[in-house]
Symmetry: C2
Subunit: 97 residues, 2 copies
DNA sequence: TTGACAGGCAAGTAATTGCTTGCATATTGT
DNA sequence: ACAATATGCAAGCAATTACTTGCCTGTCAA
């Protein structure tokens, strides 16, 4: 568990999925499939999308909630925050230690 | 050219290289080799490091300058900036157009 | 010029990854 | 109960990736 966030972001299809979820949160697998094909011009099967979602979920970039036979996917931007700051130099503008 | 920044960051060894360059800029290939082995416990050949550096350079995360037989590697954080902000929701706090 | 040092190029290999197809499970409406 | 819908699981395949070994080029000091 707690998969690699960087590896999750490495695939362009997964990034498209995140793009979709920014626009509209709480989409189901089928909704995402449809919109990835029509809007982003991607061509992959439902299982393809499902596996990508599993990777994103493992990296905690996507959270899911179940309701009956539906599974809704929500974006979670929390793991993204320490991402860009990791390689920022310690400029120590205030002058800590 | 202009390789994929996300794919460049996907590999943990490459992330270690960036970690090293944050601490000390302008290292040569041999310096990086030595420190990756000793400090980060990695075990790879010089060519392994060289190929990783090529990927980082292609993603413009690393810039190089030559001086005689030495090649110095510098970190370039510029491509990292739009990285985390890509999936931030348009909160429009001030309400810009 | 010779030898040592720093780096580059290329082919080969093993592991990983993205994707598909086929079947199984669970929920809902009639 | 039955069929349709929404999703899950797993084996198999092709492409990519990370890594190694071996050799070549360029630079510097003696």
């Amino acid at each position: 568990m707690a998969g690699d966030v960087f590896k999750a972001l490495a695939d362009s299809t997964r990034r498209c999925i995140l793009d979709e979820l920014v626009e509209r949160d709480g989409q189901t697998l089928f909704e995402l499939c449809t919109r990835l094909v029509s809007k982003h011009g991607l061509d992959l099967s439902r299982q393809g999308v499902s596996q990508h979602l599993a990777v994103l979920e493992d990296a905690e970039l996507v959270r899911t909630r179940r309701s009956g036979r539906y599974k809704f996917h929500d974006l979670n931007t929390e793991p993204l925050e320490p991402l860009a700051t990791r390689w920022l130099r310690p400029e120590t503008p205030g002058g800590a230690s």
